[in-house]
Amino acid sequence: MLAQLVDMSLWESVVRALIPVLLAAIGGLICERAGVFQISLEGMMLAGAFAAVAAAHVTGSALAAAAAAAVAGVLLSLVLAFGAVSRGGNAIVLGVAINILAVGLTSFLLPQLFGVRGSFQPEGGVRILRIAIPGLSDLPFIGPVLFNLSILGYAALLLVPATWLFLFRTQLGLRLRGVGERPLAAETLGVSSTVYRYAAVVASGVLAGLAGAQLALGNVGVFTEGISSGRGWIAVVAVMLGRAHPFGVLAACLLFGFTEAFGFRLQGQGYPVQITDALPFVVTLVALVIARKRFRRLLDLTASTV
């Protein structure tokens, strides 16, 4: 039975489930490094998905859809940046309000613009461009899993090492980390924490917006109310589990992607859909509890050898 559940096509769906979460989580980790607790990823993702579908419907262009998604994410991110960075408001409360705002905005606009409720399928069947890399995509196992992705899929995977290089090897990355840790100290040395925090929050807006585009137009090509269905929150957890380190966050996202794909597989085996719905959240919760314990045990073990 396990062989039926875990095979190559499972890994394909793992990567597919992983990508939107990873995009959003990288945005979240950049914010975390800049010292802004970013919990509005869920709302920005939702707004991005809506904008992508709306733009795809109007223009019929995937590029315009992606651009619209990024813009939607940025607009919401600016609300957070203004409130939390410029006005010193509580970032967590703002994040919650932005998530609610995104739900209200999308469910208001859906009937208002398209005269439908629940879900909307744009005309023209626009999808985010999928590219099979010649040669590589024919490799056994790895090929279909890693080299037959949408453009946003490649972008997400490449962003992991790129973010690492940016944070730990560049001037801007060093300054961003400094701002996140001691904004006043950075300020006295001439690094504006406001600028870096705005930049980080806006970057997360772009990425979470694109994550929404991938969600809506990556495979199916439809917007459903609440389409983000908690993935933005999973991304927040991935940042926590991965301790805001790009590779750690990737690992946490992989865990989520695997769980979601596995859940779908179980559903295919006749298990109720609710198990699929709950599984990623249950696994994430368990991971959070284990992660805490593991850190402590690890510390105890190292302590005895010092």
Binding site: I39, A97, D277, V289
Partner: protein
């Protein structure tokens, strides 16, 4: 707050205009629909879950505990409260009380999960309480479809609660308003006094102001966290139970998932009211009226009612961004405003 309201309604008007509507007509319908005539009665009715969830949120939040799990606590309480009312034999009033107690207990237990996660494992409650909402949705949805479901129903739902076990309406006011409203008023009064006058109110307020200070002063932080979360969950469970026993009379899965919005409206009401019970009552009335007015507006002008939800969120964004009044508790300034103090660094912008 005036500024926040102007900004929120202003942006709302812009959105209406951009999508081809008439803002003034829409707002007019919204206000008359929500605060006059039969709309007013619906508004009072809608205050029950909104003010209830707001009180639940305020209990934890004023203690520095950010409980985002209102949804799940409401759903779990509602389902088990409903099942009790359906299966328990006995005289109506007794069954109703028992059902409400079960609903409260289940809501409390559900809220204790993230609370224990925080006190035992140091896993932040903010995130776990939120994640558990999705687990609660799936769990209730499963239960109401399979073991608790009405066999052969077109959509996932329990059977109807026997008539004797339903929460009655007020005999006056022309009907349509559950006596639960009376209990909500009572809860507002109770919490107002508890917050201001009791040892518990004092200790939890200090915990909200500064955790290290409260711990240092001898407040049992872990126990207080568990206590406020359990109380918040219990109120959530009561609200959920009311929604079935006093409103719809059967637990309908899709319907209840839609009603989880009350948890978030309640959260916003509590934020707007700075966690003060009497202010929550007023803000709850206002937000409930906006929503009811929203339905009237949609019928009359084809501007969809979710505009109300949007405006509410904008009000909170504006208030939290300190456009005008701050949402924090305001204090008179002492005259001791002095030269620079050794400044403190914070890791995050605007920590709770």
């Amino acid at each position: 707050m005036t500024v926040a309201l102007v900004v929120a309604f202003g942006l709302g008007a812009v959105v209406i205009a951009l999508t081809g509507g008439d803002p003034l007509a829409a707002f007019g319908e919204m206000l008359t629909g929500g605060f006059t005539g039969s709309g007013l009665r619906n508004t009072l009715s809608r205050m029950i879950p909104i003010v209830g969830m707001a009180l639940a949120f305020s209990l934890a939040f004023r203690s520095g505990v950010l409980n985002l799990g209102g949804e799940g606590q409401m759903l779990m309480g509602a389902l088990f409260g409903t099942m009790t009312a359906i299966v328990l034999p006995g005289p109506g009033p007794v069954v109703i009380v028992a059902a409400l107690l079960v609903g409260a207990a289940v809501g409390a237990l559900w809220a204790l999960l993230p609370a224990l996660g925080q006190t035992k494992f140091q896993v932040p409650l903010l995130i776990t309480s939120l994640l558990l909402n999705y687990v609660a949705r799936a769990t209730t949805s499963y239960l109401v479809r399979y073991p608790f479901g009405e066999p052969g129903a077109a959509f996932a739902s329990t059977v109807a609660v026997p008539e004797s076990n339903r929460i009655p309406d007020f005999p006056f006011l022309g009907g349509g308003i559950s006596i639960s409203l009376f209990f909500v008023f009572g809860l507002v009064a109770l919490l107002a006094v508890v917050y201001r006058r009791s040892v518990f109110g004092y200790e939890t307020a200090m915990l909200g102001f500064s955790g290290p200070f409260a711990r240092y002063g001898g407040v049992d932080v872990e126990r207080k966290t568990l206590l406020v979360m359990a109380s918040a969950g219990a109120i959530g469970g009561l609200v959920g139970s009311h929604l079935v026993l006093g409103e719809t009379y059967r637990y309908i899965d899709a319907d209840m998932i839609a009603q989880t919005g009350f948890a978030w409206t309640g959260l916003m009401v509590s934020l707007l009211a700075a966690n003060r019970p009497v202010a929550i009552l007023l803000a709850g009335f206002f937000f409930a009226g906006l929503q009811i007015g929203g339905f009237a507006m949609e019928r009359a002008t084809k501007v969809s009612w979710q505009l109300a939800e949007m405006i509410q969120a904008l009000v909170i964004v504006a208030v939290v961004s300190r456009l005008g009044l701050t949402w924090r508790r305001r204090r008179k300034l002492g005259e001791e405003v002095g030269p620079p103090q050794p400044e403190m660094e914070t890791a995050h912008v605007g920590e709770v």
